[in-house]
Symmetry: C2
Subunit: 462 residues, 2 copies
Amino acid sequence: MAVDQVLADGLGGILSGDEWTVEREELEAYGHDETEDLSFLPEVVVRPKDPGAVPAILELAHRLKVPVTPRGGGTGLSGGALPVRGGIVLSLDRCDRILEIDTGNMVAVVEPGVITQVLQEEVERVGLYYPPDPASRGSCTIGGNLAENAGGPHAVKYGVTSDYVMGLEVVLANGKVLHCGGARRKDVAGYDLAKLFVGSEGTLGIITRATLRLVPQPEERAVLLASFSSLRSGLDGVLAVFKGLTPSACELLERDAVEAAARHLGRPVPVPGAEALIVMEVDGFTRDDVERQMVTAGERLEAAGAVDVRVAMTRKEREELWALRAATGEAVKAISTYKEEDCSVPRSRIGELVMGVKEIARRAGIRTICYGHAGDGNIHVNILRMDADEATWRDRLPAVIEEIFSLTVKLGGSITGEHGIGWTQRRYLPLQLGPVEMETLKAIKDALDPDAILNPGKIFPG
Amino acid sequence: MAVDQVLADGLGGILSGDEWTVEREELEAYGHDETEDLSFLPEVVVRPKDPGAVPAILELAHRLKVPVTPRGGGTGLSGGALPVRGGIVLSLDRCDRILEIDTGNMVAVVEPGVITQVLQEEVERVGLYYPPDPASRGSCTIGGNLAENAGGPHAVKYGVTSDYVMGLEVVLANGKVLHCGGARRKDVAGYDLAKLFVGSEGTLGIITRATLRLVPQPEERAVLLASFSSLRSGLDGVLAVFKGLTPSACELLERDAVEAAARHLGRPVPVPGAEALIVMEVDGFTRDDVERQMVTAGERLEAAGAVDVRVAMTRKEREELWALRAATGEAVKAISTYKEEDCSVPRSRIGELVMGVKEIARRAGIRTICYGHAGDGNIHVNILRMDADEATWRDRLPAVIEEIFSLTVKLGGSITGEHGIGWTQRRYLPLQLGPVEMETLKAIKDALDPDAILNPGKIFPG
């Protein structure tokens, strides 16, 4: 695919030679993310070393009406970083400086390419904590987390990415630079633009700097593993925990997920024969407090029918349990071609959701594996192709997904809790949002990106 | 002022006779809020008993291009509820039903007219807590809190109103009804519209229902009173507290504020001669935890120069201290005609802010009284007219305010932390927001309310 000469000349005037490329191999490398097996070829890949170049890049794209698809770590699961309309992939991965860690105000100021785990480790050194922790935290970036409003296991106590955003620098579709918020904890001057850009999946602006809220690092943690003889009783177990108690994580894995993860890691299954596991964490500032929470949680889980409750008190034991949980996604995907859904319902409805998914799958004759952030009501439903032929898979899948999403919405839920709508889920968005909601989203999109150059093809169906 | 016959006929077709009025006395009563001595006469006051009437009211207003000024408890401090362009005052105070308190999902579903304190007391009965607590919580409404994104003393640990909004029903300028979010804790399907409407001061839509997040009610609390021999050392005391410790409130009052409040309540000054007081609260789920926090806080405050630290352990002692703090606003206002500013800076800059305000005031020969949510960096600066004549007050005031706000912005702050821009602060907004930010706010306003009927005259200057 030939890059337009005007675009090439323009980029050449803004960037040094190693900051952009039209090499086929590079275009292919930046043509996919972690979403299924999807791939689209951009015309050019731009990787500025400094976010200061972004306004000129956007001005150029705006003048030439060239699509711009922003990209962080490329770990997205809804195709947010796929250049579905070609044009420019704008990867911010090199803009990876932590500009400031301000312990007095408990904020960090970062460029968008900072790896989430790197930020977490840096702030931990000064006794602070940045909680959002998607499973990909070792390779995803803060910019991508902001674009998709990433969550993770600790969201159940600490909230999601948007809860940690205090300020943003955003380059708008026309190349102008917008600043909102900052290190101040309270600000009601004008609309909350920062919260609008977070989760907008790169369709409203390119985030080039973020001021993030940090909290004190809890000094004590403990992790508990509870096993159940049925998936149903595991789901009940999740609900039993929350009453005056707020665990810092509460993950559920069904038997297939546990077995896949253990196999993937080459480790034995933690509790052979268990149909469901809950991995629960509590944290605090004193040993006494954490032990009190563990005792309470353990009692409640046993009362709810757990056949076995074990406590992992050492850091090593805790890390092994978290490694098992973290490996689940990749392990399940290694079984077969798959489609991952990310249903989110009010916590009290997870039983109806998961048992409903199982019933829908049974009727359709397909296999699903469920696991995820059950304490938040956010369950990842992996639909596996297994040995279905291509035609059957393609024909049957959309109806199954529609049925799962219709159930989710009926339960007061959302079709995506943390992965975003992106490219793969846009056709299903009207199952959740009606015409008024879709018109309102579109009105905002048109107001901020009238030429639709920012991540076109995403969020909006058709 | 004669109400247009077409408007009258339209309202008569939607509402019963006791739901709207053009009586002069009523128009006057709804023509002001708690903002200074400002008053504007609407053409009609509408007070529906059911939020279900709001879409038809908005459709009518939209068709006739009549301004609609929404109103909650009328306790605002920036003139958000003032009908500055006449038209309809739409008071939601009668739509005051708590529709649901869902203990399993820890959410409350409410109509906008519910009094904040009423909701707090209702959820406390089932062991839950709704933290946002503006000083006016006994008479302000959830709808007004949402419109202005209200804070309060407990924001320092628990955050502000927007942190508790999970879902909204909003009637748009054209009368269409929009739903966003719900009892699900995670939802990234489309832009975060709920967070856009919160804090938009009624300029983007009328909130008719809200789903609010609740948290477990802390079982233990303690309040501490620390006194300082200088304002400067009090400010240092605030900063000393926060390191691995998150108090549930951390308020600062300068001497004049304390004396005014004590006089207002007819009580003795708590620590005679103190130049500054810190009222600090910690909370938790065990007595041990709260005591540990109190000891730590007390040691830090003493190390920072507190001359006296007292602990109020009983509920009665705590309530007396909070009553003193809560009375401050009214007490200060009783001294003289005043203008209240609501500066918010990064916490570490409160010393520079307050001492800077004092210096600006000294040079201008005016009196200020400072107090407020110092732990959040949010200081209420009351500028008192005292015996200045009208011309001097009018001429001198804007320059003083500009100087205070310029300092605030220079310190990385916002000109309003919780009161909003509304009517009285709109001329100062460009001190904080540049042309790109103002254009972006305007683009969103135009997209959602193209005829500018929703709370016209607010937020945007000129």
